[in-house]
Amino acid sequence: MIVAERKPLAEIIEMVQDCKKILVLACRGCVTVCSAGGEREAEILASLIRLGLKKAGKNAEVFDASLVRQCDKEYIDAIDQFKGQYDAIVSTACGVGVNFIANLRPEDNVFPALNTTFFGGSAEQGIWSEQCAGCGDCVLHFTGGLCPVARCAKSLMNGPCGGSVDGRCEIHPEVDCVWQMIYDRMGNLQRQEELTASAPMRDWSTSRHGGPRKQVREDLTV
């Protein structure tokens, strides 16, 4: 899922300091799972914005509501039920949600409440880690299912780099060297031999090098 975290309050409050009616809009998708932007967090944020503005001597009404997802046109349409009731939307969705509202509602002011951080997973309650960078040309079949693009500091395709110590990456002692993990895992799978071949040349145009990416599924479009 997409992992995100709340921006510093001062930053959010500055965005809306001159607004009189504010809608804090939660997303019930990924950001609910990572406890950054779900209904509960939107309710907390609405309260904190009220307190922050009050402290600054400003008077504003702050509501909170939620959409099933903010990355789907059909769900964005539900915003219209609040039409005329706010002069700013503070979205607690990931950056996709904020972009979607901005794309679809030219008249609405929309502000991000979160910093969208990465595509990750939760191995333990309350701890998330990056697993995939969405590079668009997956190599997990060569690497035993562990991603060198997202999880190696240098995105090496033929690792390790030589900087790892005791299985840890040289960037931080607490980060596992993913290439050590790949090597060990391929050994467990009796596939270590495969790592002696050079990785095929990568086409990075599918990554962030070819401009905004688009995906079309003809079978789903009408």
Binding site: P8, L9, A10, R40, E43, I44, S47, L48, R50, L51, G52, K54, K55
Partner: protein, 136 residues
């Protein structure tokens, strides 16, 4: 100018049960500060961050939670959860440039009146010294 703070206490049923005995008269006799308004909850783990923030929105100058000892909670981890939420509120207060001590967590065993009253006095003194809430 003298100032009597509006203090809200959220306490779990177990920690506060003795204190509510005899319709609270015992508590009165022990000089529990009158300006501390107590809300009893089934477990402090039930208290949401918004519950504490709402109290500030409604005019509280200080808010505190009293739950079971962290390693002896009747509901196992209830008071630990509460402490995390109090901590989140304290950190948000800090972000808003407000004294973090306006929100506090206390872990107390059941029914020990002097300690329960002591926590209320401590909070009362602390918040009196801090003065009225800047959210006023």
């Amino acid at each position: 100018m003298s100032f009597t703070p509006d203090i809200r206490l959220f306490s779990c049923h177990y920690t506060s049960q003795q204190s509510c005995a005899d319709e609270g008269r015992e508590l009165q006799q022990l000089n529990f500060p009158e300006n501390v308004k107590m809300t009893r909850v089934v477990c402090t783990g039930k208290i949401e961050e918004t519950t504490l923030l709402k109290a500030f929105e409604e005019g509280a100058d200080g808010v505190y939670v009293v739950g079971c000892p962290a390693d002896g909670c009747h509901n196992v981890k209830g008071s630990q959860r509460a402490a995390k939420r109090v901590e989140a509120v304290r950190s948000s207060l800090g972000e808003l440039g407000v004294e973090q001590d306006r929100a506090k967590m206390f872990f107390l065993p059941r029914g020990l009146h002097p300690e329960f009253v002591g926590a209320a006095r401590e909070m009362n003194e602390l918040v009196t010294e801090l003065g009225p809430s800047p959210f006023g």
